[in-house]
């Protein structure tokens, strides 16, 4: 499966894949991030059951220093 994550193309991902599965594959700390899938927020409680499909666009964010 091919996804667009934070503007980058990531392919050779397994199919089927959930948001949780993607976070695990990217080795990210799920408690410290938020995910947007095709411009819609994915609630943390639904990471497990939200399934991804080819060409989905994801934004994965966290807090950084700012004024």
């Amino acid at each position: 499966m091919k996804l667009f994550v934070n503007g980058d193309v990531i392919d050779d991902l397994p199919d089927p894949l959930s948001v949780s599965g993607l976070i695990e594959a990217l080795d990210l700390p799920s408690a410290k991030i938020a995910v947007e899938l095709n411009l819609e927020i994915v609630s943390k409680s639904t990471f497990d059951k939200t399934m991804l499909k080819d060409d989905d666009k994801l934004e994965i964010i966290h807090f950084i220093g700012g004024g």
């Binding site: 947007e36 934004e59 966290h62 807090f63 950084i64 700012g66 004024g67």
Partner: protein, 261 residues
């Protein structure tokens, strides 16, 4: 009177903060220095930005590992957003990441002066409030816009003292005072403070708080400057509450003239 001073906390959207100083978390050498400056400043609210995770380096240090969001209130900002839609999208993500709805709205215009785009700020504020956000809003020092933002339901009005990152101090004390006098929500000077006396001047005018980033982060010794700002804000607030003496045109001796030998 002294008891009153000890309980003199900042209240925004029903939340109580011990310190009237809010500090940014940008421009520090690293997060460890940032955390030490925060401790020295005594602030219990920090602004933070929302950005993409670096997926090529997932083990990069994260702000939350240095400044605990459970003990310090994170105020997510919309820096870098130039439209209402961008701001709303960013803060929806922030709410999901952090689970809180107190946010700092800033919709900027020209990168040269970083002045707020007030038309877009008003539109974005309305959108955010309708989605249940508590909005602390960075705005121009214009009493008319400040009134509109308050009427709309913003939780705090945050006029600039001078351009972001300029360190020029409070450029228009007359407008800041007009905004303070007309408002019933907290007024927090956001941007423009360069050194401790600037923060004191803001507080002496009657501001409820001061928000700063560069003045601390770009000082030669950020930890010491953070401490200076803590005292500056307390000092200005105390002077405001104490009520200054009237200005006089001529001298008035402090020692009695009666009983001279």
């Amino acid at each position: 009177m002294t008891q009153k001073t000890e309980q003199d906390s900042l209240i925004v959207a029903g939340r109580e903060f011990k310190s009237r100083l809010i500090i940014g978390t940008g421009k520090y050498k690293d997060y460890a220095e940032n955390a030490r400056a925060l401790e020295a400043s005594g602030a219990d609210m920090v602004t933070v930005a929302v950005r993409r995770v670096n997926i090529s380096n997932p083990k990069e240090p994260m702000l939350v590992d240095f400044i605990d969001p459970k003990s310090v209130t994170y105020l997510p900002n919309t820096a870098g957003c130039f439209t209402g839609e961008d701001a709303v999208r960013t803060l929806r993500l922030a709410r999901e990441a952090g689970g809180w709805d107190l946010v700092k709205l800033e919709v900027l215009s020209d990168p040269k002066h970083l002045y707020p785009d007030m038309e877009e700020t008003l539109r974005a504020a309305k959108m955010l409030i309708s989605e249940g956000f508590e909005v602390m809003v960075y705005c121009s020092d214009d009493p008319v816009f400040a009134r509109k933002l308050e009427d709309m339901g913003c939780a705090a009005i945050m006029p600039l003292g001078a351009p972001i990152g300029s360190g020029l101090g409070i450029q228009n004390p007359v407008n800041i005072r007009l905004i303070i006098e007309q408002s019933s929500v907290p007024i927090i000077v956001d941007a423009g403070v360069g050194t401790a006396s600037d923060a004191t001047i803001a507080m002496e005018l009657g501001c409820d708080g001061v928000l700063m980033n560069t003045a601390i982060a770009e000082a030669k010794d950020p930890i010491r400057m953070a401490r200076a700002m803590k005292h500056a804000v307390i000092s200005g607030r105390e002077a405001y509450l104490a009520g200054r003496m009237p200005r006089k045109k001529y001298a008035d001796p402090s020692s009695p003239l009666a009983g001279l030998i």
